[in-house]
Subunit: 138 residues, 3 copies
Amino acid sequence: MRQSHTTLTIGTRGRGLAEITDEVARWLAQENYETGLLTVFCRHTSASLVIQENADPSVQRDLEDFFARIAPEEFSYTHDTEGPDDMPAHIRAALTQTSLSIPVIAGRMALGTWQGIYLFEHRSARHRRQIVLHILGA
Amino acid sequence: MRQSHTTLTIGTRGRGLAEITDEVARWLAQENYETGLLTVFCRHTSASLVIQENADPSVQRDLEDFFARIAPEEFSYTHDTEGPDDMPAHIRAALTQTSLSIPVIAGRMALGTWQGIYLFEHRSARHRRQIVLHILGA
Amino acid sequence: MRQSHTTLTIGTRGRGLAEITDEVARWLAQENYETGLLTVFCRHTSASLVIQENADPSVQRDLEDFFARIAPEEFSYTHDTEGPDDMPAHIRAALTQTSLSIPVIAGRMALGTWQGIYLFEHRSARHRRQIVLHILGA
């Protein structure tokens, strides 16, 4: 049993979902584990992680629309020092994931056919986000 | 330290929560770990996982009602090729869990007295869903 | 590779976020791991976990307000035997986390600068909550 870790830096283009499945898979392949547990961890509170369908991009658009409706910018939040998109970003992060746990089997993540790993940027502006990857296995 | 994994196939009866605690516990018992980390992973984007109260079934009904209100079928989504229940399913999956991490102590999952593990089916029709179980421990 | 676990008992002051980062870090430091995977697990279905900003307390207030709006007490739930705050508590728990997975690197949790670990109490009354901590690593 052994473990490895790294930190990916992902540049986002402002609000929306950015698929990172390939970046994660590439690192995993080079670390060479047959079986194990992969953890994907987002080091931010205004961006988060989600596993979603990677086939039809309209799913991503509808997801973004949903979160814009449920946590709108046009609302009088107490916390608004960083702008109207700041508090909605924290709410969206609380409703989605900070960490994902993905079993690794036969050398690959055990994702379903249509599952992709997404970094969900909740701020309007572009950001550089840090994602920690950690694997324990053999 | 060692690890084991399997894939459960669960038949759902359409939208709603299906408890899988016993199936998970049965596999765990036969793998014979004293202490470890169990991961439950759902290989789908229109079904998900949730740990909820297993005492009163009305909790499950109210949960389903809540998600029907927050992500209604009667809404003009961009993604509707698979029917009106498809995009709400993705939204409900994003709001709940794709993976659960449960410590194993004294040979059993460290669940609280009222906690049950549920597969949350978000599509109207019956489906066969794959749940990966993985444990690392001793 | 080795593992350790403990159970923290946290007294809450009724509905709201209670930061537990220090309690978790203190236990972790004494267990003396260089690298590993930390799991934080909440043994309840009417309290949950969330990683959120720990800089400005108004973020916590706005988060609580959001969850009060999205899952209000003033609603005719089927499950109401334990009072009007019971079913909203289950909904809020389903929308947030029962477990958190946090990589440990260089002897510390790989949390971002502004990230804190919070126990989110969803019931009105004070409660004593059990949080299981488990680490696998070296």
